[in-house]
């Protein structure tokens, strides 16, 4: 690894020379800005990063970074990233995908990358719409949503990225949001630090085809009521005056008002390190408008990694005697004709 001078990298060192082609006001800009901000902090030179994306507005992302990149085909980024990472485990590999790219056509690759738990970071820009194809509903669109392809309202029950990721036993799962730049940056840092597949859902506003989809979580007036910021080891508290909390009633979360009988200690405490993902799953089911939506790191645990396990096997095999071409050709029963 070339170490020369990378400790003085700045965000601008990660900017490519390409014109950015998102609509003015698109949430993607902010995600790009935060990414460029945190990358220099990771202690790796620009050339060690590879960004892989599929197709969609979000998937334009790699062009705007001065790293290596693949803007691939629709839905396949996790599979391509698997090849990149296994091909050269020395690289820091990032997948950028959309709710259509990652959960519709690419759902299977996403799940399989997650379950293999190889050391890549997957950023899913969820704008609950197909942006690039100009506004059809996506797998994360709400039931009843009217779009170009659902003029009478969508009849597809939506998928929830975090629930699916936990169903696939993800070792790192988090949610953050385009406009919450500090939290976004911090979440990206956490994802980068995780060893294994880090899955991050990023709420992203598509101001052209689905404007305001996450207003409930971004609007100053209401966001404190509608979101809940997870902190490891801390109770689940939210509200403008942090006056409300989440308590467990059997297996069900319920909203309670703090004060009076109810103390912080009665609340559900977040444990991102819980070996069992059941808590994380339960959190993933807290959804607007019934519940405040948890933001932050749902789960962060260690588990065997596909990439390192494979390398271990190779190293073990080579330790017993590295392959020689000569032997390979002459294997098995041979005979000589004079």
């Amino acid at each position: 690894m070339s170490t020369q001078g990378f400790n003085v990298l700045k965000a601008k060192d990660f900017a490519s020379d390409q014109d950015i082609r998102w609509c003015p006001g698109c949430g993607d800009y902010s995600i790009l800005a935060q990414t460029k901000k945190i990358l220099p902090e990771l202690g790796l030179p620009v050339e060690k990063f590879v960004f892989v994306s599929g197709i969609g507005c979000s998937s334009r992302f790699p062009y705007y970074l001065n790293t290596y990149g693949v803007h691939s085909i629709h839905g396949r980024a996790p599979a391509i990233a698997t090849g990149v990472k296994v091909g050269n485990p020395d690289l820091s590999v990032w997948v950028v995908t959309g709710d259509g790219d990652g959960l519709s056509i690419g759902g299977n690759h996403l799940i399989h990358a997650i379950r293999r738990n190889l050391d890549i970071n997957i950023l899913l820009f969820n704008n609950r719409i197909y942006g690039l194809t100009k506004g059809q509903y996506s797998p994360t669109s709400e039931l009843g949503k009217r779009t170009k392809s659902s003029p009478f309202g969508s009849v597809d029950n939506p998928i929830h990225p975090i629930s699916i990721a936990i169903g696939a036993e993800a070792t790192f799962v988090a949610r953050t949001m385009d406009v919450n730049v500090k939290h976004l940056g911090e979440t990206l840092r956490r994802a980068a630090a995780h060893q294994g597949t880090a899955f991050v859902e990023i709420y992203q506003n598509c101001n052209v085809f689905n404007d305001g989809a996450f207003e409930y979580a971004s609007d100053k007036e209401v966001k404190a009521e509608n979101t809940l910021y997870l902190e490891h080891g801390k109770p689940l508290i939210f509200g403008k005056d942090r006056e409300k909390g989440i308590r467990l009633h059997g297996m069900n979360p319920e909203i309670v008002k703090l004060g009076g009988d109810i103390k912080e200690d009665d609340l559900l405490f977040h444990d991102e390190k819980a070996p069992e993902p059941s808590l994380a799953y339960l959190l993933s089911r807290m959804r607007h408008p019934e519940f405040p939506e948890p933001m932050g790191v749902y789960r962060c645990v260690d588990a065997p990694r596909f990439d390192t396990e494979m390398l271990n096997q190779i190293q073990a095999a080579r330790a017993k005697g590295p392959g020689r071409l000569e032997d390979l050709l002459n294997e098995g029963d041979t005979w000589v004709v004079d």
Binding site: I80, H112, G323, L325
Partner: protein
């Protein structure tokens, strides 16, 4: 026939023959593939030329005794050079009525049929569709039929074995094999060794199989029914060290060799599919060569993964069969646009759709050529025989890395599963594969789509400082590789990509012919039909006809002299296991008509079929 193993053994007369084709047939669970492989090995070690043809049903294990469940293995061993497993068989070993029924037609008149008499009971006869017992009526009168109570004799031989009855019965294939060993005077050594090492963990099984094998052998020796042995002398093959090899195995070894020769790490991303899975199996054992195998979730992921691996600097290879190739199409297109070195192995099987998954066919040529959106050419090459898979694998990797392009290898089920002796090459004789990666720059003026004399773009690897660049599926700007919607650039790039593939023609050997340089007829083949074509042509040549054979290893681009060669003959005959795909391409490409000979039965050509067609064509009026 009454078996009598008690009498003292006496040496029987030995009849020397040039060649024998033996077929084992029985239930899928009867171990027929194993018998075949063992006889193949011992014949190969003995020094015969060999060629094999395993033939199994699509079911893992269809109902015992059913026609659908019959599994066969044919081996041709010979004292002269051979190129096919043989049109018909000199000896059929049929372990049950269904096996007899489905195979008897292929036995030479006067040929040997050994049946397991014990299995010819009413139930199984009926299952096989026999109204009367063929062992008892006249229907087999033109063959030499040996009714051997193989089950009983095996049980007798193993009466002291601690194994359970079911396990004992499973040894009957070794009995049959022993008998065949005796019949052709084969040494049991290699099989005895194999048994001891294979079942090392279970001494009872070693013991039982050993006993069964020997019992079969001694039965032949002693039983008065068998009047003489056969002997197929060693073949006079080119000198050198040999081993027996099958197509998939050779392909796997070839890929590992290509990685070694180029100093690259082999990344094999694949999803299992018959008949390509064995390549994955073989490579997954090669961790000591640093081979990375990735069993992907599907073919699309497999193809995508090798694009990623190739971008990262590995030698990216995937393997599949027809339906899988269809699924890979879109990602292969990305490979074409990103101009990465990628090798795609397609082991063809009977189509369309799921088709005949365990049978062979050559029906994916057009798919390989055109099965992608847009103008999207790749290089296509095809092996001629099992051992040629080794060379073709190296060649594919060489071309892929030299020209920065996807290369499709069109193997087929017949080649993949067939075996033949392989003259082990000297390492020095293998092609050198030079790979250069650009070494870093200042990050500004690197041109990821600048081309060298071969029109290949640089293979710049992530991790290299200053060469950061982005690739993708949108049209690339010439030189810079930036996304570019410029109309002129698009046309230029389409033509450049096509020209790059065409340029490969300058880098590959010219087409050569076997036989007269010009004449009445050229028989042109590609892929696994090579052996049958060659043998058929040799036969008609020997009867004085002006016929030559040529084999096309390169299907896109064609060798530069293809047209010149073809035009030197009055007629050109193209036998193919499809409806005439190469013929169609040649018409389109060269505006030249040829005569098609097509078989789409899931089976390879017989030599006699091609010979017959050649004679027909020769006798038909002139003109194409």
């Amino acid at each position: 026939m009454k078996a009598n193993t008690k009498e003292p053994s006496v040496a029987k007369p030995v009849q020397s023959i040039e060649q024998a084709a033996v077929r084992f047939a029985g239930d899928s669970g009867d171990g027929m593939q194993l018998c075949g492989t063992q006889l193949t090995t011992s014949s190969a070690i003995f020094g015969n030329d060999i060629s094999t043809f395993p033939d199994f049903p699509a079911e893992i294990r269809a109902p015992a005794g059913s026609l659908a469940g019959v599994s066969g293995f044919q081996i041709n061993f010979s004292s002269h050079e051979i190129h096919t497993p043989g049109d018909r068989v000199s000896a059929l070993i049929a372990l049950n009525p269904a096996a007899l029924r489905t195979n008897v037609e292929d036995v030479f008149d006067g040929g040997i049929i050994i049946v397991n008499e014990d299995s010819f009971d009413k139930g199984r006869l009926k299952q096989a569709g026999y109204d009367s017992n063929p062992l008892e009526d006249e229907s087999l009168s033109k063959y030499k039929v040996y009714k051997v109570p193989i089950s009983k004799l095996t049980r007798a031989a193993l009466k002291d074995s601690p194994l359970r009855a079911k396990q004992v019965d499973r040894c009957k294939n070794f009995f049959a094999l022993g008998l065949v060993y005796w019949l052709y005077g084969r040494s049991m050594d290699s099989t005895l060794q194999w048994i001891s090492s294979k079942f090392a963990k279970n001494v009872d099984v070693v013991d039982a199989n050993t006993k069964a094998l020997k019992a079969g052998y001694f039965f032949g020796e002693t039983c008065e029914f068998f009047t003489h042995q056969f002997k197929v002398p060693k073949a006079t093959l080119p000198p050198g060290k040999y081993r027996k090899i099958g197509g998939n195995e050779a392909l796997a070894i070839g890929l590992v060799a290509a990685a070694e020769l180029s100093g690259k790490t082999l990344f094999y991303g694949s999803y299992p599919i018959t008949p390509a899975s064995d390549i994955l199996h073989a490579l997954s054992r090669r961790k000591n060569f640093g081979v990375k195998t990735f069993q992907a979730e599907d073919e699309i992921a497999a193809m995508s993964s090798i694009i990623g691996a190739a971008f990262a600097g590995n030698l990216g290879v995937t393997g599949t069969s027809g339906p899988g190739l269809a699924l890979k199409a879109e990602a292969i297109g990305l490979g074409v646009m990103t101009e990465l070195p990628l090798v795609i192995v397609n082991v063809q099987r009977g189509g369309p759709s799921t088709g005949l998954p365990t049978k062979t066919e050559q029906s994916d040529l057009l798919q390989a050529l055109y099965g992608r959106n847009g103008e999207c050419q790749v290089c296509i090459i095809a092996p001629a025989s099992p051992s040629d898979c080794f060379d073709i694998a190296i060649e594919a990797c060489r071309i892929a890395m030299k020209f920065m392009t996807p290369v499709i290898i069109l193997s087929d089920g017949y080649i993949a599963n067939g075996e033949e002796p392989w003259l082990i090459p000297e390492i020095e004789s293998l092609p050198k594969i030079e790979v250069k990666h650009p070494e870093g720059g200042n990050g500004q003026d690197f041109m990821p789509y600048e081309r060298n004399a071969d029109l290949a773009r640089p293979w710049a690897l992530p991790g290299t400082p200053g060469l950061q660049h982005r690739i993708g599926g949108l049209e690339k700007e010439d030189l810079t590789g930036n996304v570019c919607y410029d109309p002129e650039n698009h046309e230029r790039m389409i033509r450049l990509r096509a020209k790059k593939i065409a340029t490969i023609a300058l880098d590959i050997p010219e087409l050569t012919v076997l036989g007269p340089e010009q004449g009445d007829l050229l028989v042109l083949g590609w892929g696994g039909t090579s052996g049958a074509i060659r043998s058929a042509v040799e036969r008609v040549q020997s009867s004085g006809h002006s016929v030559a054979a040529a084999h096309l290893r390169y299907l896109n681009p064609f060798p530069a002299n293809l047209e010149a060669v073809l035009r030197r003959y009055k007629k050109v005959l193209i036998p193919e296991l499809n409806t005439g795909q190469l013929r169609r391409v040649i018409r389109g490409e060269l505006m030249m008509d040829t005569i098609g000979f097509n078989k789409i039965k899931g089976k390879p050509f017989l030599i006699s079929e091609i010979e017959g067609r050649i004679m027909e064509v020769l006798s038909e009026g002139s003109g194409q």
